[in-house]
Each structure stands twice: as C-alpha cells, then as structure tokens.
C-alpha cells in the first residue's frame, strides 16, 4: 500500500517488544492507579463482579443448584445491561488479589483486567503496525495510543471501554487475516464472540466488514480481468459464517443470564441500548440532554482531547495512504495486498465517529463512546511518523542506518511524542477533565462551556481534605459519586471508614458539588440549606473548579 513503507511479518523479537510494551504500560498504570477514585460505573461493576463470581463459586460447590433458573437470575440480574464476561474477569482478578494479596488496594484487583487489556492493546497495535508498514509504524502507533490523555484515564478502570477497544481491534485484525485463511476465519468468529461478550460496540463490526469485503471483492474481479493468476482473497465470506456460528454461542456461553428466557432477555438487552436514555452533556455552553445532538461532537472532542501532533501525523499518514489507494484503484492487479487493510482500518476508525455523529446517538460518555477508533487513528499516526522519517532520510544521510541513525530516529520519535507525554502526564488524575492545547487547555475549554467531568470520579482527589476536616468522622454529601464508589475509597484506605457517604445535604457535615453544568442546582440547594454561598474548598485543575466543598454551618464535626 505504501510507496515508502513496507509491512513485515512480525518475528519473535517483535512479540518481545510487544510484551515489553504490555509490561511497561501495565506497570505505569499500576503505579498511577491509587490516585484515582472509583468512578460511578466502576462501583456498579464491582457489585456485579462480586455477584457473578459468587455464582461461579456456587457452581463449583453446588452445581445443580447453581444452574437453576432462580439462582442464575439472582446472581446475574445485577447490571444485566451489559454482558458478563468482563465483569466476571474483574471478579476473578479481585479474588486472586484477595487470595494472594497482590495489591495494597482492593480496587486495584478489580481494575487489573482493564490495565492488562490496555497493555495488550499496545502489543497488538505494535504488531499491526509492523505488518502494515514496519517497526517504526508499530512502535509509534503503540506509544501514541499509550499517550492519549483520556484513554490513559480509562486504561485504569474496571470498565468495558478499554476491553472492548482491545476486542474490536483484535477482531478487525482477525477478520483481515481471515480473508486469506480459514483458520483465521475460525479465530475471527471466536474473537467476535468475545467482543460481543464484552460490550455492544461490537455490533457495528459486521457492517464495517461487509463494506470492506464488498470493496475487496469488486477489486478482486477487476484484478482478475487484468491478470487471472494474481494472488486473491476468497470470495466466500467464511468470516461471516464463523461470526454467526461461533460469535453468538460464545456470547451465550459466557453470559448465564441468557441461559433461560433467552430471547426475552436478549431482547431486553438489545432494546436497552437501542433505546438508551439520554443523560446530560455540556458542549459549547449548552447542556444537551435530548436529541438532536450536535453532529460535530465526536470530531470536535477528538480534536480538543487528542494531542495535536498525534492528530496531524494521523492525517498525514491517512492522506498519504489515500493517495496511494486512489492511484491503485485503477490498476488493481498491482496492489501488493489484495485485502486492502487501509480501507478496513479507515472504516474501523471512522465508523464509531460517524455513528456517534448521528443526532439521536447519546453523547453522555464523552470520548469513550468512540474510543475503538483511537487505535486505528494511532496506527495512521505511526504511518505519518514513518513517512516523516522517510522524508528526512532523503535529505539527511545520517538517518540511513547504523547506530547514529537509530539514535537520531529515537530522538525524533521522542520529540514528536513529547507533547503527548506532557499532556498525558499532566492529565492525571483529572483525565476526564483534560483538554489539549487545541482549545487552550482546561481553562480554554471552560471558557467555551465544555463538559468538565462526569462519573463523580474526582472525589478521589479530595480524600486528604475530607480526612483532615472530619477528624472524628462524619457524613459527606457525595453528589455524583455513588455511595459504593465512596465506600471503596474507605476500603482502599484512602478515606477513614468513619467518614460515611450520604445523599442528604441537610444531614451532611460536608457537601460536595461536582462542577458539571447541570449540577448547578446542587450548588444552589446547598446555598439555600446552609445559608451561605462560600465553599470551604474549591478543588481546581489548571485553575478551573472541579469540586466545591461546603461545610454545613450546623455541623459540630467539621474542623473549621
């Protein structure tokens, strides 16, 4: 596909590099995870994970009883909005942590799966890059993804967004290989099943593949007219057959909830997401809470939150490959790769963004709803980086090879990733509040009235303050943080256990307000109930208010 770039078959050395990326990234995530309070959804998944694992434990002890419809329903009714696979793994990892005392905080046990998935995604991305355009592509793609501020935040969590990003990328790659291999068609079906069992983002994959497959088949016919002996892909969609025959059974097998009343329960699950309720999301000063939502949302948010250098390199890589594709469309027989991976990757990149652009699609999840696009974006950043190197090689002989060449290449790689390093390191632990320089950073985004956070996760940044202000214990109105998430702060040893969460402002000793546009009413409720507009603390990120804390004037527990 590339005039300058040539894909390679990965060697064991490449997989060693991938393993190193996985290990290093997981280590970084483990080191930084303690400063992140549990997010709203995480607390729900912790509850679900415990319940699901409880069922498996019962299955081992009392198999016939565990398999009864009532027991299955009792354990799997919790959070039946999402399949069980990943939550079961969260529970399993927590159990391992509990048994072998691997981590100082219980929440880290639940979060381990997400962190390993993030590391695994780097490995996969590196290998994909090597196959697509060589080692420079792979390495830059993996590092660029690791250094996306918002995905870096999500990489720490016991949520599905990172696992599904890994699963979707894996299925895309498996499908690509399935075009020329029946063995990979089987893998593709199995992996699709795992993706289905992870999150419903996977539902769009057959659509992407169908469009790509149609394109490949058309090109195949045209190529045969020119040269009947040219290497071809199979015209039979074995991948589709496999996805149908293996994908659905894997989903059902990993989700006992579907073992009884299957159609009704699957129907409920599908309807839940098809007709998902809408939550609030601020965008350019407007609090959007119902459709039509702005078409520009995913594009602008991507521009505002992804480091610009990464975006520019992705565009450069994409445009270069697009030009090559255009020139080869009219000479299909000479295309070096009849599976057209560029077309597939382009589809995998744009499909989630286009989907979220549809005016009736909920936007409350911010950038995480199209996070499956980012690995492919970073892959193209890798292509852009490799093209940039090729450009320099044509001008500077020192880059042609040898130690000096490698050293200069490493410096260039580090230089182009430096903005992402700065942005990502500065984003922690305020990942969901972070905005890049394209919008003037966090204050610039606040000026424009962009969303500042969601999920109430920033309470974790206040633990020292809460401990200091409530020396004898007390109650905290936790606003958008769930009581489960707050209690996990205590289990993790971050908040003293005598400090309890409450949802009653007037009975709280301290009241929190997470600054999102629509939470203004909570601020005003506190003003009226406490008779003051003066917070005792304002947690800020780059000078922008994230949480206000109010001390109840009638409380005797608050240290003034």
């Amino acid at each position: 596909m590339n005039a300058h770039l040539r894909g390679l078959s990965p060697t064991w050395w490449d997989h060693l590099v991938g393993l190193a990326l996985l290990s290093a990234y997981t280590a970084v995530l483990l080191v930084t995870v303690d400063s992140l309070g549990l997010a709203r959804d995480e607390s729900i998944y912790v509850h679900a994970a415990d319940s699901y694992l409880g069922w498996y434990e019962r299955l081992v002890q009392e198999p016939s009883e565990a398999l009864s419809p009532g027991v299955i329903a009792r354990h799997f009714r919790v959070n039946r909005e999402h399949p069980a696979l990943i939550k079961t793994l969260f529970g399993l990892a927590h159990k391992l942590d509990e048994t072998f005392v691997l981590f100082p905080s219980p929440s880290t046990g639940y979060r381990l799966v997400g962190m390993v998935c993030s590391g695994g995604l780097l490995w996969l991305l590196y290998i994909m890059g090597v196959r697509y355009g060589g080692r420079h592509v792979g390495l830059f793609a993996a590092l660029a993804y690791a250094l996306l501020p918002r995905p870096f935040y999500h990489a720490h969590l016991n949520c599905f967004d990172v696992p599904i990003t890994l699963a979707v990328t894996l299925v895309v790659q498996a499908y690509l290989r399935a075009l020329g291999s029946r063995r990979w068609a089987i893998y593709c079906g199995l992996l699709f099943g795992l993706a289905l069992a992870t999150k419903h983002n996977s539902w769009i994959l057959p659509g992407i593949f169908a469009i790509h497959f149609g394109f490949v088949i058309v090109q195949r016919r045209r190529a045969r007219r020119v040269d009947p002996a040219v290497a071809q892909v199979s015209a039979t969609p074995w991948w589709l057959l496999s996805m149908l025959l293996l994908g659905l059974p894997v989903l059902v097998a990993t989700w006992p909830w579907l073992w009884h009343d299957s159609l009704e329960r699957f129907g409920w699950y599908a309807r839940f997401h098809w007709q998902h309720e809408y939550y609030n999301m601020a965008y350019f000063g407007v609090n959007h809470f119902r459709p039509p939502f702005p078409i520009s949302y995913p594009w602008v948010m991507t521009l505002f939150t992804v480091p610009i250098t990464t975006t520019v390199l992705a565009l450069a890589g994409m445009l270069g490959d697009l030009r090559l594709l255009w020139s080869r469309l009219w000479r299909p027989a000479i295309c070096p790769d009849p599976t057209y991976p560029f077309v597939l990757y382009l589809g995998a990149l744009f499909a989630p963004l286009v989907l979220i652009s549809l005016p009736d699609q909920p936007i409350f999840g911010g950038t995480k709803h199209w996070m499956t696009a980012y690995p492919f974006m970073c892959l193209f950043s890798g292509v852009g980086f490799a093209r940039f190197l090729a450009f320099l090689r044509g001008r500077f002989a020192v880059l042609e090879g040898g130690r000096a060449g490698s050293a200069v290449t490493a410096v260039i790689l580090a230089g182009l990733l430096l903005p992402a390093v700065l942005e990502t390191s500065h984003s922690h632990p305020f990942g969901l509040s972070h905005y890049g320089v394209a919008v003037g950073g966090v204050p610039g985004a606040a000026d424009l009235g962009m969303n500042r956070q969601f999920w109430g996760y920033t309470t974790g940044s206040l633990v020292d303050y809460l401990n200091a202000r409530l020396p004898g214990g007390g109650r905290v109105y936790v606003c958008d943080t769930t009581t489960g998430a707050f209690r996990m702060l205590a289990e993790d040893g971050l908040v003293r256990p005598d400090i309890q969460p409450t949802h009653d402002i007037s009975r709280a000793d301290l009241a929190l307000v997470h600054h999102e546009h629509h939470f203004a009413e909570v601020d005003f409720q506190i003003w009226a109930l406490y008779g003051t507009v003066q917070p005792s603390k304002v947690l800020r990120y780059d000078g922008v208010p994230i949480i206000s804390v109010y001390a109840n004037p009638s409380s005797r527990r608050v240290r003034r």
């Binding site: 609090n287 809470f289 119902r290 480091p307 610009i308 250098t309 520019v312 390199l313 450069a316 852009g384 093209r387 940039f388 450009f391 320099l392 182009l416 430096l418 903005p419 700065l422 500065h426 320089v437 003037g440 950073g441 966090v442 204050p443 610039g444 606040a446 000026d447 109105y477 606003c479 958008d480 949802h503 009653d504 402002i505 007037s506 009975r507 600054h515 546009h517 629509h518 939470f519 203004a520 009413e521 909570v522 005003f524 409720q525 003003w527 009226a528 109930l529 008779g531 003051t532 507009v533 003066q534 917070p535 005792s536 603390k537 304002v538 780059d542 000078g543 922008v544 208010p545 206000s548």
Partner: protein, 297 residues
C-alpha cells in the same frame, strides 16, 4: 509540508507550558479578594469573570455575598459592581461601560464599575414572610412554619424546602412557598419566591401593605428540569393591587427567566396579591423575584 510536523510539535509543547503558566495562583486570588474586601461598600455587588471562576470568587469572598446577590436578577439595587477577572474576561453586565477602577494582582484583575443610582425601594422577596399565603379554589391558608429543612437534594430534585416556609401541602415535596435559590432555564441561580400553582386552583401570596413607587418589577421562571422539555402547560401570574388586576404574565416553557413590569404610578400603600396558576400544575416549579422601584433614584 513535512517540516510543519516538528514545528507543530514544538508549538504544542510551548503552548502547553504557556497555558499552565497563565493559571492564576491562589495568592493572586487572595490578594485581589483582600483588596476588594477592604473597599466593599454595603450597596456593592461582586462577580467573577468568566462565570466559571465564580466558585473561586465565592471561596474568597463568599461571606460578603448574600443569597440575594448570588441569585440576583439585575443590578438595580447596587451602586457599584466589582469584578474579579481572569484571562481578560469582563462581566457581561458591564459590557459597553468603562471601568472606574482597574488593578492587577498577578493574573487576577480587579475591575470596578460605577452603576446608576439604585432604584429599588422595597424588595418583595425579602419581605415575603410578612405576607399571607393561601392556595386552591377555596383559598385555604398556608401556615408559616419554622422547622427542619427538606431532606435529600441532588440532581433533578429542584429546590429543597427551607426550614422556614409557608406550608400549603404537607404531602408534596413542592407544596410550599418560600424564598429559595432556583436553577433557571439558563442554569443560573435565581434568588426568588418559590410559588408553584396548587393542584386545584391558584396559589396566592398577599402583602397587606406595600409602599409603592413608580413600578413593580418582576422576574419569573421555572425550575430548569420542569421547563427544559418544553412540554408543560403555561403558568399564569396575576398582579393585583387592592384586589384589582394591574398586570399579568403568561410564562411558557422556553421563555426562561423573564422580566415584566407593572406601572403603579406614584407613592402610596396598597395590598399586593400575586396569584399563580396553571391548567396542568404538575411539575410547574414557578418562582419569582420582585421589587418596588422608582424611575429616578
């Protein structure tokens, strides 16, 4: 073209550092606030620009910002407006007027604007507990009670009943009349009298003897979540002086926080009744702020 790539990366690194360097320090805010605190007169108002910096302003000067100031509808009662400004922002209320004072404290700038002399003569929100309240077709009285404030709070709960309130319906979370801070359609705070229509018939607030001047100025609107779907029935507010209707407002969803004035033609005392009703009173969290004003200071 490729040379743009390192240029963009360099610019991005520089811009990142520049953005962080421009963030005002706590010391800047403290010095600016101390200056304003020393200069603040009883009829001065304080604000932050941009509005998102308001929590930081209140952290430093919140003890000098009563609910009525934080939830003001306009500046008619104030002589001067102090703005603690960052990033070159100005308060929207001062657009087009020149400041009488400007002083920088690091990254925070204090700006003072002199306003026209105050025209507010009597604040109806401030005096609402002097009024009598009744509700329904049979005009049942709503007794004034002082007790525990409402429980709960949180997203979608609207206003929480304050401890001191007229109780019209014990069983309803919203069955009261009292000053509250309402979140209006623009998500702004409004210090106002919460007076939702009753299930059957209007809710009436009657001030027995109001010292009138040239006009009565009202602002009114609904709680954000009641209004934002634009599906609710209109809410009518009638203004009666000594039993005679002198003005009315029909508030339709989407109107937001609206101003309306009733001419009262000169100083005298009168009984003022504010009557609020709606054909479908469910989720009609209506609130008003009102004052007696003169045309000239």
């Amino acid at each position: 073209m490729w040379l743009l790539v390192p240029a963009i990366a360099t610019w991005e690194v520089a811009a990142h550092s520049w953005i962080r360097a421009r963030v005002p320090s706590d010391a800047d805010w403290a010095r600016a606030a101390a200056f304003v605190r020393a200069e603040l007169a009883p009829e001065d108002a304080v604000t932050a620009a941009p509005a998102w910096a308001d929590p930081i302003l209140r952290r430093h000067l919140g003890d000098r910002i009563p609910l009525a100031m934080a939830g003001r509808s306009d500046l008619a009662r104030y002589r001067r407006l102090w703005t603690l400004s960052i990033r070159g922002h100005r308060a929207p209320e001062t657009r087009g007027s020149a400041p009488s004072l400007q002083r920088a404290f690091g990254r925070v700038t204090v700006v003072r604007h002199d306003l026209p002399d105050p025209t507010v003569r009597y604040d109806l929100v401030q005096h609402v507990f002097d009024a009598q309240v009744e509700h329904g077709k049979r005009a049942r009285p709503c007794p004034l009670r002082t007790g525990s404030p409402g429980r709960g709070g949180g997203l979608g709960k609207g206003v929480v009943a304050p401890g001191k309130r007229f109780v019209c319906n014990d069983r309803s979370r919203r069955g009261f009349v009292a000053p509250v801070v309402l979140e209006d359609l623009a998500l702004s705070p409004r210090y106002c009298v919460f007076q939702p229509p009753a299930r059957r018939g209007p809710t009436r607030v009657t001030f027995p003897s109001v010292p009138l001047a040239d006009e009565l100025v009202f602002y009114a609107g609904l709680y954000y979540e009641d209004e934002r779907h634009r599906k609710g029935a209109p809410v009518n507010m009638r203004v009666l002086l000594d039993g005679q209707e002198r003005g009315s407002l029909t508030h339709r969803d989407g109107d937001g926080w609206v101003r309306f004035a009733v001419s009262t033609a000169g100083p005298r005392r009168a009984e003022l009744t504010l009557e609020v009703d709606s054909s479908h009173p469910k989720k009609r969290g209506f609130c008003w702020a009102g004052s007696v004003r003169s045309h000239s200071p």
